[in-house]
Symmetry: C2
């Protein structure tokens, strides 16, 4: 049983996390928000109070912290009495925040793999380059660390586990992420452009036929006919969850498919070919050293600013194929979320919502003890059913289609 949450980060996802923690502060206790710029946390706190989101009276407070300084993170964990840290800062801070948790005994929850600013798409499995190096230490010290507990990675890992639990053998896991919404801007990314583009500028790793396969971005396309959003163009992409699922289920092909329209691809292609998505610095004629991708980020709309005008739905799910009693079986496990409903509830767009709700559900399971694993876990290594139960209640209900896409459609627990 743990309580009191420290949220690291104050972007669009952190806003959702804060609202959801507030809505469940009877279970979670004190809520503290820490980011480089303390005023961003204050804006989130104002938004929480504006919506009257605090379930019971309690602490909701903002702090300034350099999250790359693990000692400073540890100090803040101690000062705030936090036993659970939800890290939704940039992926560049993960290892530092994790170190702060290991130092203090707090549970650690994040939503993406650690990245170093000057490296992209490193050797698979990506987790092995960073977080998993601390796995033995977490076990030894009894530290609960739940990795990649957003939507994807996160909920989709639980979807895979849930489907696999209904099978004798698993043959393939295809994770499909389609945002069929519209933000009305010429171009925008739905979360931090720097992290978003970095996903697509390197090698696309998939796990197929028992080995890591390499492709280029936009090389392998597929149209999926999904519930609610209909036929959707997607491309095989690199993504965090492929790296843990392939490690845990090496007998299955594991692929990730991200939806892209022609306009996105055109803009991406232009920026990429010119070199503007590079994470390596260039030097201007005036001698200023600057990372092009950071300038593109500065020019693009803040993802949080998209929320008020965002309409339409997302559909994210896993098509899992295997066998049961010797016969082939398929299951599509998925969620459909709505941008406008997300905005009305927590002031954020649907992508932030789907990313921010799950780590709060995970925190509630750590608080209750159900997921307080006292070691490092990826989400597919934990029981998915209590996770789904909370997600159903706090905004991201899980549905399944039996027999694969287009099959009998029902709630996961019907």
């Amino acid at each position: 049983m743990k309580k009191n949450v420290l949220i690291i980060g104050a972007g669009g996802v952190a806003q959702v996390v804060a609202h959801k923690c507030a809505q469940n502060n009877d279970v979670l206790g004190d809520i503290n928000i820490a980011s480089r710029t303390a005023s961003k946390g204050d804006d989130i706190i104002a938004s929480v109070h504006e919506k009257g989101a605090m379930k019971v009276e309690g602490v909701l407070k903002g702090h300034g912290v350099d999250a790359t300084d693990s000692a400073a993170v540890a100090t803040l964990i101690r000062e705030t009495g936090s036993e659970i840290v939800i890290n939704v800062g940039t992926a560049f801070v993960n290892m530092h925040v994790l170190d702060g948790c290991i130092e203090t005994g707090a549970a650690y929850i994040d939503t993406a793999i650690h990245e170093e600013p000057d490296k992209i798409c490193e050797t698979p499995p990506w987790y092995a380059n960073y977080e998993w190096k601390k796995r033995d230490l977490c076990a030894e010290k009894g530290i609960t660390a739940i990795l990649g507990a957003g939507f994807d990675p996160g909920v989709v890992n639980a979807y895979a586990r849930f489907a696999i639990d209904h099978m004798d053998e698993v043959h393939s896991i295809d994770i499909v992420d389609i945002n069929a919404g519209s933000h009305g801007k010429y171009f925008a990314t739905n979360f931090d452009p720097e992290i978003n583009f970095r996903e697509f500028t390197g090698t696309v790793y998939s796990w197929q036929e028992g080995a890591w396969q390499e492709n280029k971005m936009f090389e392998v396309g597929r149209v999926w006919d999904l519930p609610v959003v209909g036929p959707s163009q997607s491309y095989m992409s690199g993504h965090d969850e492929v790296h843990s699922l392939a490690t845990n289920y090496p007998e299955a092909d594991v692929r990730f498919w991200m939806g892209f329209g022609d306009h996105y691809i055109n803009v991406f292609t232009v920026l990429q070919n010119i070199g503007l998505l590079s994470e390596q610095p260039v030097t201007t004629a005036e001698g200023l050293e600057v990372v092009p991708l950071k300038v593109v980020k500065a020019c693009l709309p803040d993802p949080a600013s998209l929320a008020p005008d965002y309409t339409g739905k997302t559909c994210i799910g896993d098509l899992v194929k295997g066998t049961k009693d010797g016969a082939p079986v398929e299951m599509f496990v998925y969620n459909v979320a709505d941008h406008k409903e997300a905005y009305l509830e927590v002031g954020s767009q649907g992508i932030s919502y789907t990313a921010g709700v799950p780590p709060v559900a995970a925190a509630m399971l750590v608080a209750s003890g159900e997921w307080d694993a006292k070691t490092m876990k990826n989400v597919e290594e934990l029981d998915p059913k209590p996770f789904f139960t909370i997600l159903d209640r706090i905004g991201l209900p899980t549905r399944v289609q039996l027999g694969g896409l287009g099959g009998e459609d029902k709630a996961w627990n019907d």
Copy 2:
């Protein structure tokens, strides 16, 4: 009679200027090259010697100078004994170099209108915002200043004057600039990307029906069926020469048409819509203030680097319409240049070649006294015939089509 040339700048155009000055150093005397980075001048000097371009033995020397420091420019003019300055540095230095010439009595020749880094497409006529403010001073002090003596502006102003000299009345001047060459890169600009894009990010000014008209870039398109390069898509664009020609020939419509392919327009549109072509600084998440356009420039190929692989031709000319003896007349005056031939001769691509040869022709006319005007002039205010005579000889022959495009085709002096 003036002699000894100081070249300001050491980019692709300066390379052509240096080669052409060297080929004509019997007339021009000493050649000195000054740029911010002295080593760039040394590279040009090495290239001149490699091609054996010096017609007679003489001075060819590089210098470092901050061309925005007019006193430093004046000192260098005096130290080198230069009586003619060819300014092919960035357009941001023009007024400072001009001041250095006025200070020392040297003749001034440039190829574009002065620009301030933080302003684009100012109030027309553009020359009135900068150079023309020094016109009275030049006249008073007997300073020869020849403005815009590249190809466009420059040779095309002389083309207009030449055609108009054959008419009683002029009704319209359409300047068409088509580069039908191929550089083999995904995307590149043919001269300084910063200056290139700045031409197209603001209002398109044209002079029509006796007034300045405003359009957006790519709003007005036209296909011209040109000699050698054939039918070519173009768009009405803002350009320097429109501003002097409209002032000197207010009775004529004056328009500038720049050739663009769909790929260029797509890349430009993406960069422009995202804000990456802005000359106004943005601040990155890390707090670094940076001008996006300067970063785009740093990412794009150096225009000089395009030269070795550039193939194909350019066609630049003026379609001038008017009346003669009461009947309508048309004349297309033009030049066709070849990228590969330019590279073989002077190590530069065709766009640099067409821009760099004319100011050397102008310098030779200042040296001979024919264009030593002792005041400030735009090119259409000077006799075009001696200019064409030298251009014919040094690499940019002038041809005409009588009766307009597709009419009888002959050399200008046939």
